[in-house]
């Protein structure tokens, strides 16, 4: 029995908790991509840079607050700086819309052209970020790092295996729950949310029934900016901030959005967790897990790892390709909010 609990703790520590926090970050990112796709109708390659930008502004404010000795005690200072980051990210989204995307929307350009345009925006934002903070890795998490250390857990329960709980992971999961609840409540219950869903379902019909398109676009960028900034900051808080990481994050985010069914917010969230868990589960070495479960003479000699961790990235894409082949509309039949 003890062996069984030990094996569960191993899984919790190395697969489930990291998967949940990484999945939450992906889910928030994918939700932003889905919003842009469903309402503005293009694949936004600049989303990763939007996340990076939000995280950068948050870091700058965190530094400011730290220099003023303002803090939250055991919680990271970045949480006070987050609202400023969110505002700046929304501002950037609105600016890029006003000066770049709006023109193509009124021209009714094909989605591919808008995707190209978003690549241009990606380059510009990327350059701005690099010019402001350079390309070095920045660690900005402060406060208490662990809620529970592996040693404490061992002492507490008397088990062989420890369970470490990083505060960034818990914060990530909590904030994600709050944000997702709010977003879904907004879409389902409020009048504005309903008008957004109508707009994404049938633009012409929505315009006929008197929905103001500019307002819908404004609210969209508001939500997208918030989600992007929170996702970027949480990712940076969890794994340390590096500007070029976010370009690589775009691909798993797209994969999450498409796997869940692009355009469907619920699908985006599920897709995020699916991608995160499969990346971690396929590349995790299960040797320790089986050591507790199997009798001694059956113990595996190899690492029991399906793929080496080097291929973490490839996993999400393989899933993407498989899903697109078997069920091109994704798990939750996307297209409308």
């Amino acid at each position: 029995m003890v062996d069984f609990i030990n094996s569960i703790v191993v899984l919790l520590n190395f697969v489930i908790i990291p998967g949940l926090s990484y999945g939450s970050q992906l889910a928030l990112g994918a939700l932003g991509v889905t919003f842009v796709y469903a309402i503005l109708r293009f694949a936004n390659f600049a989303h990763g840079e939007l996340m990076s930008f939000g995280a950068m502004i948050t870091i700058l404010f965190t530094w400011f607050f730290q220099s003023q000795n303002i803090g939250l005690g055991i919680l990271p200072t970045a949480l006070i700086a987050l609202p400023f980051g969110i505002l700046a990210t929304i501002g950037l989204g609105l600016l890029s819309d006003k000066f770049v995307f709006k023109y193509y929307r009124t021209q009714k350009s094909v989605p591919v052209v808008l995707a190209m345009v978003s690549i241009g925006v990606m380059f510009v934002v990327n350059a701005i970020i690099r010019i402001i903070v350079g390309t070095e890795t920045i660690k900005f998490s402060d406060g208490q790092k662990f809620i529970m250390k592996a040693k404490q857990f061992k002492l507490m329960t008397g088990l062989n295996e420890g369970l470490a709980l990083k505060s960034s992971q818990v914060i990530t999961i909590l904030i994600t729950i709050v944000l997702l609840t709010f977003t879904f409540w907004f879409l389902q219950k409020t009048k504005t949310g309903k008008s957004m869903r109508a707009f994404s379902d049938n633009e012409d019909l929505a315009l006929l029934s008197g929905i103001n398109p500019d307002r819908v676009v404004f609210i969209t960028w508001f939500i997208v900016g918030t989600l992007a900034c929170v996702a970027g900051t949480l990712y940076g808080l969890d794994k340390s901030y590096k500007p070029i990481i976010y370009l690589n994050l775009v691909l798993p985010i797209f994969a999450s959005a498409i796997v869940g069914g692009i355009g469907s917010p619920f699908g985006a969230v599920v897709g995020g967790y699916v991608i995160a868990f499969s990346e971690i589960m396929v590349t995790y070495a299960y040797k320790k897990f089986f050591k507790y479960l199997l009798p001694e003479n059956l113990e595996p000699s190899s690492l029991v790892q399906l793929l080496s961790t080097d291929y973490k990235f490839a996993v999400s894409f393989t899933i993407l390709v498989i899903v697109l082949l078997i069920r091109p509309s994704g798990i939750f039949r996307g297209k409308v909010l």
Binding site: F42, A43, V100, Y103, V110, P111, V112, V113, A115, M116, V117, I119, G120, V121, M122, F123, V124, V125, N126, A127, I128, R130, I131, G134, T135, L247, L251, F254, A255, I258, S308, D310, Y311, F313, A314, S316, F317, T318, L320, V321, L324, L325, P328
Partner: protein, 456 residues
């Protein structure tokens, strides 16, 4: 290939830019930029063929370049006999098993009628097949990687002249593109963009981590050259005579024989490196012209007209009996193959293969900017885009330094803002690229040299 006035202007501006750089920064710099410009132009033509002719999007440029680079290693590196000895049979067995697995899956799909049975059987066969293959495969590769890991640790290549790899790289990239196209080409254009981008990441991560194939992140260095080495040139008589003859007027003015010899030696060293770069430039230029010639021929042929018809109106082209799926696949493969040729040339020029150097920003998105800026659907535009964008990519750094110096000249030299700006000079090129792309898409969406509409 008759150029109009506008195209002649574009060409002459480009030529004069290289001459200016030659006089200001030295001919060596100018030739280095020229070589990369030509390779970029070939990549751009590859993308332009699939996107400009037929509207098939290919964001996998980076992957096809890497495959072309791999071809350069596999063709030119001498084989490592010991590695073949210890691991060759294991690799052979796993390869045969893999083919068996593919055949098994093929027959399951053909023979089993019920859909749910099909999925289960496929899953089971693939799962156990992969486990068995992995056993043989990992055994073989770990043995190969143990052979002299500091210098070898991989299978080596075929020990042929590296210039063959340019064609081989094209075939490799075309083959991979065929597989990708079979799977992905039915998708909508923006999905296709994301999928090809993702597959190219997978390709590069495979190259990074399969050390038995190309040493992975340990890189392969010291690839053979298709052109003479500087050291050999400096020792050969004909080269020394040539340098003396070229500089005879300058050398004749100097009377002191010692001084004369010293100047001559310096001249020989300089000109040997110039000569090597010039040789590369000539080789690359020939390839570029050949590809340009055939690309143009293809564009004005009935086949090219059919491609434009498919691009402009898929439904009516389909109604005229054109097999759109097949034509899309063909053009995707051709475009990727040309990119593969450029990839092999790139590795040839560098003389080394570094899989971790393949990044999407540098090798996919910049190439796309070249296509859009140059003018999609026009081969000369593609070449021009490749030249202009690569030229700007290199020359923007000295230019920004110069501009920052001017704008901050009023400040204290140790001013924090000034120093920070000077530190971030390399990042201004991304800003420029983004701005150029946005401006072109907004004000000249057909590119600098647009496609010529033929009414025939």
């Amino acid at each position: 290939m008759r150029f109009d006035k506008y195209e002649w202007t574009a060409i002459s501006i480009m030529v004069s830019l290289f001459i200016i750089v030659g006089f200001v920064q030295g001919w060596s710099v100018s030739l280095v930029i020229l070589n990369m410009c030509i390779i970029s132009a070939i990549m751009t033509m590859g993308v332009n063929i699939s996107w400009g002719y037929a509207g098939v999007i290919n964001f996998g440029v980076m992957g096809f370049l890497a495959i072309g680079g791999l071809a350069a290693v596999l063709v030119s590196y001498p084989p490592i006999k010991e590695a073949w000895h210890v691991g060759g049979s294991g690799l052979g067995i796993s390869f045969v098993l893999l083919i068996g697995l593919v055949i098994a899956v093929y027959f399951i799909n053909k023979l089993v009628e019920k859909k749910s049975h099909k999925y289960w059987l496929n899953g089971l066969v693939i799962f156990f097949g992969v486990i068995i293959i992995r056993y043989f495969f990992l055994n073989a590769t770990s043995k190969i990687e143990e052979v002299d890991p500091a210098l070898a640790g991989f299978l080596g290549g075929a020990n042929l002249p590296i210039i063959f790899s340019w064609a081989v790289g094209g075939f490799f990239a075309g083959g991979v593109a065929f597989l990708i196209g079979k799977v992905a080409l039915g998708l909508r254009s923006d999905y296709l963009a994301i999928v090809t981008l993702g597959i190219s990441e997978i390709v590069v991560s495979v190259l990074k981590h399969e050390e038995w194939l190309s040493r992975g992140v340990k890189n392969v260095i010291g690839l053979k050259r298709p052109v003479p080495y500087e050291i050999n040139l400096q020792a050969s008589d004909w080269f020394i005579n040539m340098v003396t003859w070229f500089n005879s007027s300058k050398l004749n003015q100097i009377i002191d024989p010692d001084q004369k010899q010293e100047i001559l030696n310096n001249l020989i060293i300089d000109s040997s490196s110039l000569f090597v770069k010039l040789n590369y430039a000539i080789l690359f230029f020939i390839v570029m012209i050949v590809i340009y010639y055939f690309a143009n021929k293809a564009q004005i042929s009935p086949w090219g007209r059919m491609m434009r018809a498919i691009r402009d109106n898929e439904v009516s082209a389909n109604a005229m009996g054109k097999d759109i799926v097949k034509q899309h696949l063909i053009i995707f493969v051709i475009g990727a193959a040309i990119v593969g040729v450029a990839g092999a040339m790139l590795v040839t020029l560098d003389g080394l293969f570094t899989p971790s150097g393949y990044r999407p920003l540098r090798f996919t998105f910049i190439i796309w900017i070249m296509v859009i800026v140059g003018g999609s659907g026009n081969n000369l535009g593609a070449i021009f885009g490749g030249f202009v964008i690569w030229f700007a990519w290199i020359e923007v750094a000295p230019l920004t330094t110069f501009l920052i110096e001017i704008f901050t000249s009023g400040m204290d030299p140790q001013n924090a803002i000034r120093l920070h700006l000077l530190d971030s000079v390399p990042y201004f090129r991304y800003l420029l690229m983004g701005m150029v792309l946005l401006l072109i898409l907004r004000y000249r969406p057909k590119g600098i040299i647009p496609e010529k509409v033929r009414h025939s």
